[in-house]
């Protein structure tokens, strides 16, 4: 034993002593239950993520195990899913996914290059429009186009013939166009992040060794291969799992897509969970194949090009004709993805009697008046606003715990399992989540256990939470991993308990990312469609269901007015949230993350 004899030991002053007594004994006793919060967290994750999905997917193989048939093991669900119209829908999804992935990646690459590597005018605008496209729900983009092109739609009312365009758009082409517009931001983000880290030395090396600009571009494309493959895989997975376009444009065009057949299998009578689960497996397998293709394409090569010695790349000057052409292409993309749908929705909401066969269609604000006056039209928006606020708050809190666990120095196994789970959940279509919730919480076993959540708002919120959590946790992972552990430890050793220390030292640092995550989740939940469509409480439709119902009943004016009001409402919430942060947050919180 190393004993260091004190030369000037004095009696311990009470103020400087370690507290003892009853409180000390209680603290020491409670410290034995250190694993309890982690167990509680995992119980939540299992209840909202693992159980619903696992049980739903299990029924594809063993209907009897879950009281859905007589067979303990069967592949009938897969056999039914892979023949006739269902096979057709699966093949359509595959083709649409592949075409969309290639188109969106090519366009996303072009946008990233133009914004980051050229001096194209209004670079901030193009970058911002990518985020606007990312946030716009696919069914709203599709519905905007439909309002313009449908028979007796806006173009017909305005006397502009739309027959040819309608014929072309109502089918695979239109579906691919809308999904490509939705996929471009994903490709843009994946490729632009990689492009930012790629210094100019690789291009310079080509040029000083006799290569031309074209050769340098080829090298850059090769070095960006991981990002390009990521973009292809992400856009493919997003496209095949999309429900918004499948339920609107594709359905109206009688172009079957796998996600909509899954919806039909659980929404029509008789409900066929084994077939729905088999389609769920097929969708997951297709997303898995995309990831495998990405992994195989990159295997055995090194793309570590980002280092401390990288020099920032220089922007390429575009000659005026080239700049004009590039601006034209970007403007076309924004018009297709945002402009046309916005114009379609806005104009349709301002036309009287759109969708009816009435001969006179005047411009009016009466649709907005109707939405604001009628409880049936206004109710869904207020209901969704409430559910979105609850969901965003819960998701941000649990997402923060998940991100903390993923970046923790201890509990590596727990973190690895959670990471894998969240990654898998990101690849799962929302419609599979919704079907899993219907299935699991409607099981007789749930009833026996006293869990009566089916057809309740609680179940809807839990499903929203489950679909939003994987992405929110990913969004928070970056900022959480940047926070030094010592900030919280310093709070603890200087007198604060674990929770108080986190709230006083780490929360201020993460306030902006947490608020961003809340806002993103709020907006996504407010306008969410697949989970809402399958799980809404009877007579209490959320706004997305309200919009699609109004449109299905040919109340185009009321439906589009709801759409416009919902989007404006989301924008107001975003502005209010940031405004309150600026007004109420302490000055030190607001200074963080600001540029000089």
């Amino acid at each position: 034993m190393a004993t260091l004899t004190p030369e000037r030991t004095e009696a311990v002053h009470p103020a400087a002593s370690v507290p003892s007594g009853r409180r000390h004994r209680l603290t020491m006793a409670l410290s034995r239950a250190q694993g309890a919060p982690l167990i509680a967290f995992w119980l939540v994750i299992v209840a909202i993520l693992v159980l619903p999905i696992a049980l739903f997917l299990l029924v594809a193989f063993s209907p009897r195990l879950l009281s859905q048939g007589s067979q303990w093991f069967t592949l009938t669900g897969f056999r039914d899913a892979l023949r006739g119209p269902l096979l057709h829908a699966v093949l359509d999804s595959l083709a649409v996914g592949a075409a969309t992935a290639v188109a969106a990646t090519a366009i996303g690459f072009g946008v990233a290059w133009a914004v980051l590597r050229t001096d194209i005018p209004a670079r901030g605008l193009w970058s911002a429009s990518m985020f606007a496209l990312l946030l716009a729900p696919s069914y709203l983009v599709a519905l905007g186009w439909e309002r313009l092109l449908e028979p007796s739609g806006v173009l017909d009312v305005l006397g502009l013939g739309s027959g040819g365009a309608r014929h072309l758009f109502y089918g695979p082409f239109g579906v691919i166009v809308v999904l490509t517009a939705k996929g471009v931001p994903f490709a843009y983000l994946a490729i632009s992040n990689a492009l930012r880290g790629l210094g100019e030395e690789f291009e310079m090396a080509v040029r000083v060794h006799g290569g031309r600009g074209r050769d340098a571009a080829r090298i850059v494309v090769a070095l960006l291969a991981p990002a390009v493959w990521s973009a292809l895989a992400i856009v493919f997975a997003e496209s095949i799992s999309d429900f918004g376009v499948a339920a609107t444009l594709a359905n109206d065009a009688h172009f079957p897509i796998a996600t909509f057949t899954l919806y039909n299998a659980v929404d029509n009578f008789p409900i066929n969970f084994p077939v729905a689960a088999a389609i769920g497996w097929i969708l997951m397998a297709m997303a898995g194949l995309a990831l495998i293709a990405q992994s195989r394409a990159l295997r055995g090569r090194s793309y570590r090009v980002l280092g401390g010695r990288s020099r920032p790349a220089r922007r390429q000057h575009l000659a005026p004709p080239l700049a004009a052409g590039a601006v034209g292409c970007l403007a076309l993309l924004v018009v297709v993805g945002l402009g046309v749908p916005a114009f379609g929705a806005l104009s349709a909401s301002l036309i009287n009697g759109l969708g009816s066969l009435a001969s006179s269609h005047g411009f009016t604000l009466s649709n907005y008046q109707r939405v604001l006056d009628s409880g049936a039209l206004r109710g869904p928006l207020l209901y969704s606003a409430k559910l979105a606020a609850i969901t965003a708050t819960l998701t941000t809190a649990i997402g923060a715990v998940s991100a903390r666990l993923l970046t923790s120095r201890s509990g590596r196994l727990s973190a690895r399992i959670l990471d894998l789970l969240l990654l898998t959940a990101v690849a799962l279509p929302g419609i599979v989540f919704a079907a899993g919730y219907i299935f699991t919480y409607n099981l007789p076993l749930a009833n026996t256990l006293g869990v009566h959540l089916y057809e309740t708002a609680t179940l809807l919120v839990l499903a929203y939470l489950a679909t939003a959590l994987p992405a929110t946790a990913r969004v928070l992972l970056g900022p959480f991993s940047q926070v030094q552990h010592s900030l919280r430890e310093a709070g603890q050793v200087h007198g604060d308990g674990g929770g108080a220390s986190w709230a006083r030292t780490v929360l201020p640092v993460l306030a902006r990312p947490l608020l961003s995550a809340w806002i993103l989740t709020y907006c996504a939940t407010l306008l969410e469609l697949p989970v809402s469509q399958l799980l809404y409480v009877p007579n209490h439709p959320p706004v997305s269901v309200g919009i699609t119902k109004a449109l299905a009943n040919y109340d185009f004016g009321g439906g589009t007015a709801m759409e416009v009001i919902a989007i404006l409402f989301a924008l107001v919430v975003v502005a209010a949230a940031w405004g309150l942060f600026r007004l109420l947050a302490p000055v030190g919180w607001r200074r963080l993350g600001r540029t000089r």
Binding site: A2, P6, A16, E489, G491, H494, G588
Partner: protein, 385 residues
């Protein structure tokens, strides 16, 4: 900086009994025992991975121990099952990365540590102003951490640590991110300020010169265990193992054979010359040993006028050090680095190196002699005078 003294609050006595700590399957601390007297300034010295930071973090309570027990001021604060959180241990810590909260001003960072004292506002302000004056930052209290230099940030961290007058102050390599000049100035500030507070101090470093300059006592750790503990003079003059000798600075290792053993003194034949040394192990005549020689024990001479018993060698490198020159000398038994002389001896010149027995320890050879295997360590490790 004012000279106003802070009222001394006597520190914790810290008792560490058989402490084990593992990260997964990797042991970080294995059966560590130590008793640190109240008010003592103890330095934990060791290379990366020796467990010194882990031990300090276990004392702070930011890590839980897996076995053994830690007592502070006579109270159990942790064993394998129970754990008193850091905020209940009445301590403070200065972190290697400063760990200043970026959303709080300098004054906000320092006053944070007074929360547990529940003092009136005016008293908090007075104490914060006093602590900041003591570290020379009174004029910068409204700045934010990113508006300060590295040295200023570490001073804020120091003020934050002492302002609450804790019973135990822990320093986790606080100077490692600073330049040499600033390190020396801050080292003096840490030494004086800590001793004024009367707190027990545990200071972690891998820099032996910092350890010798600061410590009342040094604990040397290697691979999760304590290899020697004692006063700096003991560690320097009587290193318990070759590891401690090497880690606290040697000029080189020479292979030899014990010619005579007399208690803790031995005569060792090295390349035909007999050198006197302290016996690090129990040695007998005929034992093969390695001599570990402190840089300060060497001196360089002209062979024609050298004292008897010098080692003949060739100068292979010279480095100017301001107050004189450090030489690397190749002898028949091995290489000696940091051999000091006030004058320059030219490269390739033949010299004689005299060795003072007070700075020379002999340890029984395990494995091949460095000279036998032709392993030459030319790293010049010096200990600041």
């Amino acid at each position: 900086m004012t000279t106003q003294t802070t009222q001394a609050a006597p520190g914790h006595e810290v008792v560490v009994q058989g402490v084990d700590k593992r990260y997964g399957k990797t042991p970080a601390l294995a059966g560590v025992d130590a008793t640190i007297g109240a008010g003592r300034f103890v330095v934990l010295l060791g290379p990366s991975g020796s467990g010194k930071s882990t031990l300090a973090r276990c004392l702070a309570g930011v890590e839980r121990i897996d076995g053994g027990a830690i007592h502070m001021a006579g109270t159990l604060v942790g064993d394998g099952r129970r754990h008193l959180p850091p905020d209940r241990r009445n301590l403070a810590m200065v972190f290697q990365d400063y760990a200043l909260w970026p959303h709080l001003s300098v004054a906000g960072n320092v006053s944070y540590a007074l929360r547990r004292r529940k003092l009136p506002g005016a008293e908090v302000e007075r104490r914060v102003a006093d602590a900041l004056e003591r570290v020379g930052l009174g004029a910068l209290k409204d700045r934010y951490p990113h508006e300060l230099s590295g040295g200023e940030q570490q001073r804020v961290s120091l003020a934050r640590a002492v302002v609450g007058r804790p019973g135990l102050l822990i320093f986790d390599e606080p100077l490692s991110n600073l330049d040499a000049d600033l390190r020396e100035r801050l080292r003096v500030e840490i030494a004086t300020l800590t001793r004024e507070t009367g707190a027990t101090a545990v200071y972690i470093t891998h820099d032996q010169s910092e350890a010798f300059a600061l410590a009342d006592e040094i604990i040397v750790l290697d691979r999760g265990s304590i290899v020697q503990a004692g006063a700096p003079e003991d560690i320097y003059h009587r290193p318990a193992t070759p590891f401690v000798a090497r880690f606290t600075g040697i000029a080189g290792e020479l292979a030899g054979v014990v010619a005579r053993a007399d208690g803790d003194q031995v005569g060792v034949d090295v390349a035909g010359v007999r050198l006197s040394a302290r016996a690090g192990d129990a040695l007998a005549a005929g034992d093969r040993v390695r001599l570990l020689i402190r840089p300060a024990a060497t001196s360089i001479h002209d062979p024609s006028s050298a004292p008897l018993g010098g080692l003949a060698g060739t100068v292979i490198d010279v480095a100017y050090r301001g107050r004189g020159y450090d030489h690397v000398v190749e002898t028949a038994a091995g290489s000696l680095a940091a051999v000091f002389s006030p004058r320059r001896w030219d490269r390739s010149g033949t010299v004689s190196v005299a060795v003072d027995p007070a700075g020379c320890s002999a340890y029984r050879t395990e494995g091949p002699h460095p000279a036998d295997s032709r392993v030459l360590d030319l790293t010049a490790v010096t200990l600041s005078a």
